[in-house]
């Protein structure tokens, strides 16, 4: 084993005896483009709603619930898909989230939530994960579309305008503090702050 590593390292260390520097550089560049492009394409493929709801756990539970909400259908036809809210848009954050999501693959393989009953039993924990994430990043995924700076309080209802211009403006509260359960049904809310 040690020998193999040694031989491998020596091969890497030695200057190339057969290929020109140009061929190596250009070849490396092309290989890099293919590699990187392939990686990103595969990544983006997992970042679509079709991919998410290709698992029945997602399609039969959370997707069905989303369908009745304003984030699915509304007057202007702008809609949020799963990754819009559940995957960060910035690349580094996205990769971090995608690595976390490998645990969800594990869950899929072992059927952690493969029935409605199991899903409901885990719902609170799953919801708390998302609330914690959104609380920690100041509701970043909400703000990707709902930009506070461009909110027109005059076209909001009085109640909404009051709360947005005070608690939200001062940064004391963030979107998810009040807007829980806007896209999916709520779990048992006993003990949740503000409920």
């Amino acid at each position: 084993m040690k020998n193999i590593i040694k031989i491998g390292w020596q091969t890497l260390k030695k200057p190339s005896g057969y290929y020109s520097l140009g061929a190596l550089v250009i070849g490396g560049f092309i290989a890099g483009v293919i590699f990187w492009g392939g990686f990103n394409t595969a990544l983006e493929l997992t970042n679509t709603e079709e991919f998410c709801i290709s698992c029945h756990e997602m399609e039969n539970n959370v997707y069905e619930e989303l369908k009745t909400t304003i984030h699915f259908t509304n007057r202007s036809g702008v809609r949020a898909t799963c990754p819009d809210c559940h995957v960060p848009h910035k690349w580094t954050d996205k990769i971090a989230r995608k690595m976390q999501a490998s645990k969800e693959v594990w869950g899929k393989i072992f059927g952690t939530i493969n029935t409605r009953e199991k899903f409901l039993a885990h719902r609170k924990r799953l919801a708390e994960n998302e609330w914690r994430r959104l609380k920690a990043n100041d509701s970043l995924e909400c703000r990707n579309c709902h930009n506070f700076d461009y909110m027109d309080f005059t076209s909001q209802s009085q109640r909404a305008a009051k709360q947005h211009s005070t608690s939200l403006a001062s940064g004391e509260k963030t979107c998810i503090d009040c807007h829980k359960g806007i896209a999916h049904h709520l779990p048992d809310m006993k003990g949740v702050e503000g409920w």
């Binding site: 009745t68 209802s157 109640r159 359960g181 049904h185 709520l186 048992d188 809310m189 409920w195």
Partner: protein, 155 residues
């Protein structure tokens, strides 16, 4: 026994008459006068009033109507969205009216710490209002109007 049969016969004569009393009138059904083989063109769905302004109650025991939108508010085993503003603990922050004390009473009149299960489902009594014309004219007269008329008549 004979009497019973007589009453039965009498009723069978009378009943069609009583049934026909309900028929005349402007609004028979929401289909109005559309013939049975045709589909009525549906009306525009009215908007829920979202003014946040309290409306007068028509009589003292009327459950107050909801002056705001309640789309997707969940009231179920897991949660009661209404209570996140209208419960006793939450009204200071929300400045929403607190549910009345009667909501804390069980059917024997004992006060409970939380709203009574029989008052849990807010929408059984409290409803939003739609920005639309009423289908039938409302002939309801406030009792204060009646009392006023009475006292005027006495003078």
């Amino acid at each position: 026994m004979k009497n019973l049969i007589k009453i039965g016969m009498l009723l069978s004569v009378l009943l069609p008459v009583t049934a026909s009393w309900a028929a005349p009138g402007e609004v028979a059904t929401l289909r109005e006068k559309t013939s049975i083989d045709q589909q009525k063109k549906p009306g525009i769905i009215p908007k829920v009033i979202n003014s946040d302004i309290k409306q007068a109650r028509n009589y003292p025991m009327q459950p107050p109507v909801i002056p705001h939108k309640i789309r997707n508010y969940e009231v179920n085993l897991n949660t009661n969205k209404c209570m996140s503003c209208h419960s006793r603990q939450r009204t200071e922050e929300s400045q929403a009216p607190m549910v009345s004390v009667t909501h804390f009473m069980d059917r024997d009149g004992n006060f409970l710490a939380e709203i009574s299960p029989r008052r849990y489902f807010c929408n059984q009594c409290h409803v939003t209002q739609l920005d639309t014309k009423p289908v039938v004219e409302n002939e309801f007269v406030d009792m204060h109007a009646i009392m006023k008329q009475k006292s005027l008549a006495q003078k």
